[in-house]
């Protein structure tokens, strides 16, 4: 108990230790060009998501008939689509939509996947067996097929896409967490905690979870990039977010029909999807390096 009371000096040194570690991480990230690029791209899109409506010169659904089908120019940086909507504004405003949709979906699947994975790995037995076979059956289906099945039943909507992301990615996160738990659970310090009479919840969240965190962070980052891709794919297939919302996938789908005439309406949202997915992937890769080093 005495050890828990920190002196001022210790707190200071702890803070500077965390600061050092943070600086170290930033340095590690920016020492690798690929990771630096990825992190910058993610940062850029997050900024766009936050400031989107302030940056966009026009409304997402503002139709200017006189300006329809115009090539990129100073007035319309990314040109206008067949209905006279400013493509730049739509891409910028759409950033918040896709980041919040994929972000919320990832967060929910990470929280649920982690809880289930911890419990399943620690408890073992019939609970573990039942849950894992159920997840296997979900994973046996290609993600997109499962998504189409769910959305076909629920009807296309934003909430539907969110649910799809959670259903598709929770099992994957749970399995990753479970595998780490299985490796740790037999280690001495867990045994010691159990012998000390600590509650299961305390062991799970105070002893095991910290060891799972690095792997979990990397997994979450990867899931995030896949979630962006899945949301965009569903938008493209027309079963996700409904028009006329500036969903990138939906924009690509709409622009496909007018591609021969207004190709820029397809290029920019498609490039945004690619850039963001590649950026998140590179950043996730960098995160993996940092956390492995820290380990």
């Amino acid at each position: 108990m005495v050890s828990r009371i920190r002196t001022l000096a210790e707190t200071k040194s702890a803070a500077s230790k965390w600061g050092r570690r943070f600086l170290d991480s930033v340095r590690t990230i920016y020492s690798r060009p690929a990771t630096a690029f990825g992190a910058s791209v993610v940062l850029l899109f997050v900024l766009l998501a936050v400031l989107g409506p302030l940056i966009a010169p026009y409304g997402a659904n503002q139709q200017i008939p006189a300006d329809a089908r115009q090539a990129p120019s100073t007035a319309h940086w990314f040109g206008t689509d067949h209905l006279g909507r400013d493509v730049f504004s739509r891409v910028v405003i759409g950033t918040r939509d896709i980041l919040s949709l994929a972000g919320t979906g990832t967060l929910l699947s990470v929280v649920m996947g982690t809880s289930l994975g911890l419990l399943s790995g620690y408890r073992g037995g019939w609970f573990d067996e039942l849950l894992m076979r159920f997840f296997d059956s979900l994973l046996a289906m290609p993600a997109l097929l499962l998504a189409l099945l769910l959305l076909g039943t629920l009807g296309p909507s934003r909430q539907g896409v969110l649910l799809v992301i959670v259903v598709v990615y929770t099992p994957i996160v749970a399995r990753v967490v479970r595998s780490v738990v299985l490796a740790i659970k037999t280690k001495g310090f867990i045994e010691a905690a159990r012998v000390q009479g600590e509650s299961a919840g305390r062991i799970l969240f105070r002893e095991i979870l910290p060891s799972v965190l690095p792997a979990l962070a990397v997994e979450a980052a990867l899931r995030f990039s896949y979630a962006i891709f899945l949301a965009a794919s569903l938008g493209f297939l027309g079963v996700g977010v409904q028009p006329p919302s500036p969903d990138w996938g939906l924009m690509v789908n709409e622009a496909r029909r007018t591609f021969s005439q207004v190709p820029w309406a397809l290029y920019f949202p498609a490039a945004a999807i690619s850039l963001l997915v590649v950026g998140v992937n590179l950043a996730a890769d960098g995160l993996k390096q940092v956390l492995l080093k820290a380990d």
Binding site: N61, Q62, Q63, P65, A68, H82, L83, G84, G155, P156, G238, Q242, P243, P244, E254, R256, R257, T258, F259, S260, Q261, V262
Partner: protein, 507 residues
């Protein structure tokens, strides 16, 4: 003796030569069919004329079989297997004289019995073809001679000849049972080879009953499921003719060398309708407000890029000549008036509606533009886009409150009134019921007095503008493109009915 030997030799050599020469000259009277036309189109599923529906299916069937009477590109009735006809004074009996010397592709002769058998098949309710309701007004069909057939009607039908030229009314040989796998028609082309989902090759029917037709020796129909790929193949020289494409693809072909493009006005349209049998549409002020909030010119410019024609909320479009009254137009856009009407109807705080639309053509675009336009009048629209097959598949389109529906072009306007707007009609999607309208539609569809019909159609247009449940913002154009080495092609409003017999190659 020698002389006679010489003469014999002369006969031996020159007579056959002369015969060959004469035969060649005779053949030159009607130049032989030559050249190959490659058409890109959607894969066909149905080949039995009674069950065809798509452009491609109708194009194939109408090349292999013949209609009794046909419709030209200007919507006039023209002879085909029937060379002439008489209508009795009471308007109930139509007697057709059939062409002589017509043979089926299997070599058997075509007679009046084949016509009787074909139309009996099409109107047989037990067989359940869609034509059975179209022909329910026929009381009797009789072969009155080897090449003469009489149709007797129960009630007068001024559009009966148009009904006889319905897409499905292609004449089969008596007793045909395998029309879905075999192609035994009298038509200008014979099927040489058919690989489902891949291609269908046609060769000229050298015994075709019309002198000098067809002009092409061969037609290759190559199936594409993607419009973009089809137009790219035309551009790349693998195809010669493409019909029906998006406005964007059509625009992209404008500067292409060696390709002639054409935009054909049609009476096809997209309509927006509000169910009039329940809230909010049962208050006529609501649809009136939506009409006032709609900018038809902007919609035509954005959704159809200016091709086609402005609609005036009635299916009787400008292509119907005297039946269309250009003086009847909906009131100009007035957002303030729309707001006032909505407030009167109890929607002072705005109105929220879900707009259902199939995913085909410019319909999702129309929905997006309407959403923006109506928002200015305080109407909040949520769009629900569904795949076309799903939307029309389970009759959900007849149930929703607010929906967009595409209607194809027809050669005469009565069809739309009878199936879409008359009380209790099969496809009365707006659930519209108006006694005055029903009476006018019945009059227009039965009177033999052309002046009376024109007046009835004018009254109907006025009525629909004043209290109709539909907004028809435009009539669309149909697009096609053909390589400039071909002449004699005229695309019809329904591209599948275009005449391939008159196309010829110039080099």
């Amino acid at each position: 003796m020698k002389q006679s030997h010489q003469s014999k030799k002369f006969t031996k050599i020159f007579v056959p030569l002369l015969i060959v020469l004469a035969a060649t000259l005779a053949a030159c009277g009607a130049p032989p069919a030559e050249g190959t036309l490659r058409i890109g189109m959607q894969p066909i599923l149905a080949t039995d004329p009674a069950t065809i529906s798509s452009d491609a299916e109708v194009l194939v069937a109408s090349s292999v079989y013949d209609y009794l009477v046909d419709v030209d590109a200007q919507s006039n009735i023209v002879p085909r297997l029937a060379t002439s006809w008489d209508v009795s004074d009471d308007g109930l009996t139509y007697t057709f004289t059939l062409a002589e010397g017509v043979e089926f592709h299997d070599g058997s002769a075509f007679t009046a019995e084949d016509v009787v058998w074909t139309f009996d098949r099409l109107r047989d309710e037990d067989l359940g073809f869609t034509t059975s309701s179209l022909y329910s007004n026929i009381a009797d069909i009789t072969a009155t001679g080897e090449l003469e057939v009489a149709f007797t009607l129960e009630n007068t039908n001024p559009f009966f000849l148009y009904d006889l030229s319905d897409n499905h009314a292609l004449v089969l040989k008596t007793g045909t049972e395998d029309a879905d796998t075999h192609f035994n028609g009298t038509g200008p082309f014979k099927v040489e080879n058919y690989s489902p989902e891949d291609r269908l090759d046609l060769i000229a029917n050298e015994n075709y009953f019309i002198e000098g037709q067809p002009k092409l020796a061969r037609i290759e129909m190559i199936f594409f499921s993607e419009e973009n790929a089809m137009v790219d193949a035309l551009r790349g020289g693998q195809l010669d003719l493409v019909m029906r494409m998006t406005t964007a693809l059509f625009e992209s072909l404008q500067d292409e060398a060696g390709i002639n493009t054409f935009a054909v006005p049609t009476n096809g349209f997209d309509l927006v309708r509000l169910r009039s049998d329940r809230a909010p549409g049962n208050d006529p002020r609501v649809i009136q407000a939506l009409k006032l909030a709609t900018d038809r010119q902007a919609i035509l410019e954005l959704v159809q890029q200016g091709y086609g024609a402005i609609g005036n909320d009635s299916p009787i479009g400008p292509l119907y000549g005297p039946y269309h009254d250009p003086a009847v137009t909906p009131p100009a856009r007035d957002v303030a008036a729309a707001r006032a009407l909505l407030a009167e109807a109890g929607y002072a705080d705005g109105l929220s509606l879900t707009l259902h639309t199939p995913d085909s053509g410019g319909r999702p675009d129309l929905a997006a533009v309407l959403k923006a336009q109506w928002a200015e009048a305080g109407v909040e629209v949520e769009i629900s886009v569904e795949p076309e097959s799903v939307y029309y598949g389970d009759d959900g389109w007849l149930e929703v409150d607010l929906g967009i529906t595409g209607w194809g072009s027809r050669p005469y306007p009565q069809f739309y009134l009878d199936v879409m707007l008359v009380s209790g009609a099969k496809w009365n999607e707006s659930h519209f019921s108006d006694a005055e309208f029903d009476a006018l539609a019945a009059l227009a569809g039965s009177t033999l007095d052309e002046g009376e019909r024109i007046q009835a159609y004018a009254d109907i247009q006025q009525l629909l503008v004043e209290r109709g449940p539909v907004i028809i913002p435009y009539f669309f154009a149909q697009f096609g493109a053909i390589r400039d080495t071909f002449t004699g092609f005229e695309m019809k409003a329904f591209p599948g009915r275009s005449d391939l017999r008159t196309i010829s190659i110039t080099q």
